[in-house]
């Protein structure tokens, strides 16, 4: 009896279960297919790339496109530029942001609420709304077409975010830790540096990663504040791929996709490793911001 009813329920549920997995599979394909297509286009030779009908599963993959794109000094230079800019911006905003977040998260003082509001409003600041002012400042300071211009301008979106997320992080730490440190005669800065900062390491990793990704992906300021190919970041280098780059008439899509995979793969790996923390950081920043 019991077996029969269980089976009946199973039978009744099966169609909806199948539908569920069909929907699930469609969502997964939708999310991943474009990236699959970039990889596929990166590993096929041009003869297959520019053939109709389209070949979906490459028969003999080759790394020719990767070799070609890495052989150009410009792309390697762009990788280096992006690493320098994103790395510097991340370290700067972590250092400056952690101190600011500590002040806002752990101290009660007059004026902290307006400062919090200013920081919060900056997290939603559209980059375009300060472009005119930034552009003139950067030319005046002689920073135009220098990587320093990018480090300087990227702080506008990495710093407020860093302060905001780390502030919520500092607030969650127990108060007795600090008090114990003060009783032991530690100075405020020692307390911050030796006790609070190490405890907030997980938060620093998450915000640092998010800041790095934001700086690595930036396009508007990089496009506006640099001019010569040797100052290009990876987003610019990939934007400027042209028929001339490949020496043909058609845009060298294969090489461009190879470059895309090279630039994206580390990000995807990092994202997958720190998946949980990134989701927590993104939703915390968003829900509370």
């Amino acid at each position: 009896m019991r077996w029969a009813s269980a089976q009946r329920r199973d039978l009744r549920q099966r169609p909806s279960r199948i539908l569920f997995y069909v929907v699930l599979a469609m969502i997964a394909i939708y999310l991943v297919f474009p990236f699959y297509w970039a990889i596929r286009s990166a590993i096929v030779p041009d003869a297959v790339q520019f053939a109709t009908p389209v070949v979906y599963w490459p028969e003999d993959p080759s790394l020719e496109n990767f070799r070609k794109v890495l052989a150009t000094g410009q792309f390697r230079r762009a990788l280096l530029n992006s690493a320098i800019v994103a790395g510097t911006v991340t370290l700067l905003s972590l250092a400056v942001g952690a101190m600011g977040a500590y002040a806002l998260g752990r101290f009660r003082f007059r004026g902290s609420t307006p400062v919090r509001y200013i920081i919060l409003s900056m997290t939603m600041f559209p980059s375009i709304s300060v472009l005119g002012g930034l552009y003139t400042l950067i030319t005046q300071f002689g920073l135009y077409n220098k990587l320093g211009a990018l480090v300087y301008s990227y702080l506008i979106f990495t710093l407020p975010f860093t302060v905001w997320v780390l502030m919520t992080f500092f607030r969650q730490l127990p108060r007795d830790l600090e008090e114990a440190a003060y009783v032991d005669g530690a100075s405020p800065f020692q307390t911050f540096w030796r006790i609070m900062l190490p405890l907030s390491a997980p938060g620093l990793v998450t915000t640092g990663l998010l800041a790095f990704i934001a700086a690595w992906n930036e396009f508007l300021y990089a496009l506006s504040f640099t001019q010569t190919p040797d100052k290009r970041t990876v987003t610019l280098a990939i934007f400027y791929f042209s028929p001339q780059t490949g020496g043909g008439f058609e845009i060298p899509w294969g090489q461009m996709m190879a470059a895309t995979v090279i630039v994206t793969l580390p990000l995807i790996v990092l994202t997958l490793i720190f998946q949980r923390r990134i989701i927590a950081g993104l939703t915390a920043g968003a829900v509370k911001g």
């Binding site: 569920f20 929907v23 699930l24 997964a28 999310l31 474009p34 990236f35 297509w37 790339q49 109709t52 389209v54 250092a95 942001g97 101190m99 600011g100 002040a103 806002l104 101290f107 003082f109 007059r110 004026g111 609420t113 400062v115 919090r116 900056m122 939603m124 559209p126 980059s127 375009i128 709304s129 300060v130 472009l131 005119g132 002012g133 930034l134 552009y135 003139t136 702080l155 710093l159 302060v163 405020p188 911050f192 690595w216 396009f219 508007l220 990939i238 934007f239 791929f241 461009m256 895309t260 994206t264 990000l267 995807i268 990092l270 994202t271 998946q275 989701i279 993104l282 968003a286 829900v287």
Partner: protein, 313 residues
């Protein structure tokens, strides 16, 4: 001779003594500002000053590299903006893009969030797959899709032809009637997972007991969705909608990669950037920036009044 010798150490000791005379609260305040100082300097230097300058320039005829200094022109730039057909095209394109993408991202994101919220084998990899579009830089995903939309060798035309939906290849990105949908589809692909993650975080705090009680009371799944899920998800929905709208209104990257400064497919941000950088017309470009700010503000006010958001910090 003797007096300065005595006075010197006293003066040096004064700050320390003042520090010792302070109450704990006063000391805390001093320390807090000290810790905040670097961040405040950056905020002022990177955001406040450029913002003030942008607003100021919007009332001048400032040009970069001009020999004569900028002159105050009052509301001249804004008067010109009101009758500038290219600006209004940019507003139309941006607002249409915003409405399409936010609507799709919300509905699709809600569907994905509901699906991923149920327990099933392979849930971990599924959540991981959701982060893939988000992790790819917008410029690169735009290029990936540009290649997929290619009129001759593109995979999208090929798929649609195989499915029998179209007979001839379509130049999706060149045709005026398909350009907007094509670019919207890229943004929807990239950002829907993010919306889904936000909504998923909201779903996960709804207690299971509510659904169990509702099932006992005989409410079916659809009823449960409208009476439990949707009301309790409201805060997350509001946040997602506001975030996505603000982002969509200032969209730049994906349009610039696909269309450059093509007059019929410029967004407000592309139009402003083009004036400031390509034409060096900082005055008019800044006026456009200020106008963008106002358009965004209108949307924020509309949201806050219709959804009755409680602002909290």
């Amino acid at each position: 001779m003797g007096r300065p010798v005595i006075a010197e150490p006293r003066r040096a000791a004064l700050p320390l003594r003042r520090w010792q005379a302070m109450t704990l609260a006063e000391r805390q305040a001093w320390l807090a500002w000290l810790f905040l100082l670097p961040a405040l300097l950056v905020v002022v230097g990177v955001a406040m000053v450029p913002l003030a300058q942008t607003v100021y320039f919007s009332f001048t005829d400032k040009r970069l590299g001009a020999l004569r200094p900028a002159q105050w022109v009052g509301l001249e730039n804004f008067r010109f903006l009101l009758t500038d057909p290219l600006w209004w095209t940019a507003v139309k394109v941006t607002v249409q893009f915003t409405l399409i993408t936010v609507a799709f991202e919300f509905l699709l994101g809600l569907l994905i969030a509901l699906v991923v919220n149920s327990r099933f084998p392979g849930r971990g990899p599924m959540r991981a797959a959701m982060l893939v579009p988000w992790a790819i830089p917008t410029v690169l995903s735009a290029q990936m899709w540009k290649w997929m939309y290619n009129d001759i060798f593109g995979v999208i035309n090929d798929l649609l032809k195989r499915a029998g939906l179209i007979e001839q290849n379509i130049a999706w990105l060149a045709r005026p009637d398909t350009s907007l949908l094509a670019v919207a589809s890229i943004d929807i692909w990239k950002t829907t997972p993010f919306v889904a993650l936000l909504l998923l975080a909201g779903l996960q705090v709804i207690p299971d007991e509510l659904y169990e009680a509702a099932t006992v009371d005989g409410a079916n799944k659809v009823r449960q969705f409208f009476t439990i899920t949707l009301p309790l998800l409201r805060p997350a929905i509001v946040v997602a909608l506001i975030f996505r709208t603000l982002d969509a209104l200032r969209v730049f990257d994906v349009f610039y990669v696909l269309f450059g400064a093509r007059p019929d497919m410029q967004t407000m941000a592309v139009y402003a950037q083009n004036y400031i950088v390509a034409f060096s017309d900082v005055g008019y470009g800044s006026a456009i920036s200020v106008a963008i700010f106002l358009v965004i503000a209108i949307f924020v006010v509309a949201y806050v009044t219709t959804l009755k958001v409680e602002v909290q910090t």
